[in-house]
């Protein structure tokens, strides 16, 4: 019997040691950028306590249906070029807390990895909660037979965040997960009124860490209220705001992922 991941060409994980640095944002924008280069993308949201992905595509009220091979992922539009799976779709009420200990989380993650009928995808992006615990161990172990491309690590610039991402790098090493690169998110803010740039969360920590650890640096993404607004409204930031300050960096990250996969095939 053909596995549900047999038609998925590349799997990549988005990780961080720290919460609130923008993993789900980066996962979402990466998916949108890849879609704009004509790829078919799926996002598997394994953050069971704080599932943000459905809302970022404005499909939080959708239900999940079953088919012969398992769960049918939720398509974000008629185009069917982006599909999602998240515990967010399985909750009766959106405010319901998922108060589960490790073993129950691990069981659902195994199901999520094996039982979603993704069909043919160019990329499956796996969005994770912060940390290096049950969800991460279970996800990496379940994905191992499918040889993921690797992980993108997201940090904000300041030392307190970078300090946790160093530990995430160790996690990747120990779990045999290749690091595709580090993204320094929330890196600077350009005031829309006077164009003065302020480094609200400091600057440069992510780039330094990449250098220190010998992994690629994928770029700095600035704070961009238009990006936050797009995510709130479930809009396609890449399509609608190509002149916005975060656009160049986000497109560049996607381009590097694509270049990386081309390198891999050749």
């Amino acid at each position: 019997e053909r596995s549900n991941l047999a038609g998925v060409r590349h799997i990549l994980l988005v990780l961080s040691g720290k919460g609130g640095v923008g993993k789900s944002t980066i996962s979402t924008e990466l998916a949108l950028s890849l879609r704009h280069s004509g790829r078919k993308v799926g996002i598997l949201d394994v953050d069971l306590c704080g599932p943000s992905i459905p809302r970022m595509f404005k499909v939080q009220d959708n239900d999940v249906h079953q088919c012969d091979s398992g769960w049918v992922p939720v398509f974000v539009d008629q185009d069917k070029s982006i599909s999602l799976m998240s515990i967010g779709f399985l909750l009766e009420k959106p405010d319901d807390a998922v108060v589960w200990r490790g073993p129950k989380k691990n069981a659902l993650i195994k199901q999520f990895v094996a039982d979603v009928a993704w069909g043919d995808l160019d990329f499956l992006i796996v969005d994770t909660p912060p940390g290096t615990s049950d969800e991460h161990i279970s996800t990496v172990e379940a994905l191992r037979p499918y040889k993921p491309l690797g992980a993108i690590l997201v940090t904000t610039p300041q030392a307190v965040s970078v300090g946790d991402v160093r530990r995430e790098l160790t996690f990747c090493k120990k779990m045999g997960l290749r690091v595709l690169g580090i993204v320094e998110n929330m890196s600077g803010f350009v005031c829309p009124h006077c164009l003065e740039c302020t480094n609200i969360f400091s600057k440069g920590g992510g780039e330094e860490l990449a250098k220190h650890a010998g992994v690629p640096f994928l770029g700095c993404v600035p704070l961009d209220p238009q990006l936050s607004q797009s995510l709130e409204e479930g809009r396609d930031f890449i399509q609608e705001f190509p002149k916005s300050s975060a656009f160049p960096a986000l497109s560049h990250i996607a381009q590097q992922v694509l270049d990386g996969t081309l390198q891999q095939s050749s």
Binding site: R167, C191, L223, E232
Partner: protein
Amino acid sequence: QVHQSGSGWSPVYVEENLGVMSVGFLLSSPDDAVIWRGPKKNGLIKQFLRDVDWGEIDYLIIDTPPGTSDEHLSVVQYLSAAHIDGAVIITTPQEVSLQDVRKEINFCHKVKLPIIGVVENMSGFICPKCKNESQIFPPTTGGAEKMCQNLNVSLLGKVPLDPQIGKSCDRGQSFLSEAPESPATLSYRSIIQRIQEYCDHHQCQEEKMI
């Protein structure tokens, strides 16, 4: 470095009246990762709660990771015999954050943890050059204020973004001392005062009952 004695683990003292305990002190390298499943995490949390010799303190603040899982359940369960005054819940203004915080509020209700109130962090940014305000994390659904109204919990305050906060934390210095005039400092102080008032008020109530 954490020291052990007959009476348990000694907290690391930042100042005479501020002691800290964290797994961070138990790791030998800044690259060490704590790759533990739930049961092992629960074990250490139990030790932290049981074996640290705090001495006489007025407040014990427990900083938690995001979520509603092992760490949170364990802290509440292991402290059930002691008395938890309540929880302070932190959010940022946007709906993507609030939707998780509503779950956290539900978690508190489920485990009967009183909620002292909610703090809206990263609430607006005032450009140091032109002094105009930007809502970097826009409160598209009314922010913490609306959520608190809907869920009948207190909004303790809103803390604006200030680049000095991150800097102070990175340098291990007190932001409140480094930037006493910052609007963020004023916010923090007002929030802290409200938390103290809540705790004092509830302590009085309990003493009356005894």
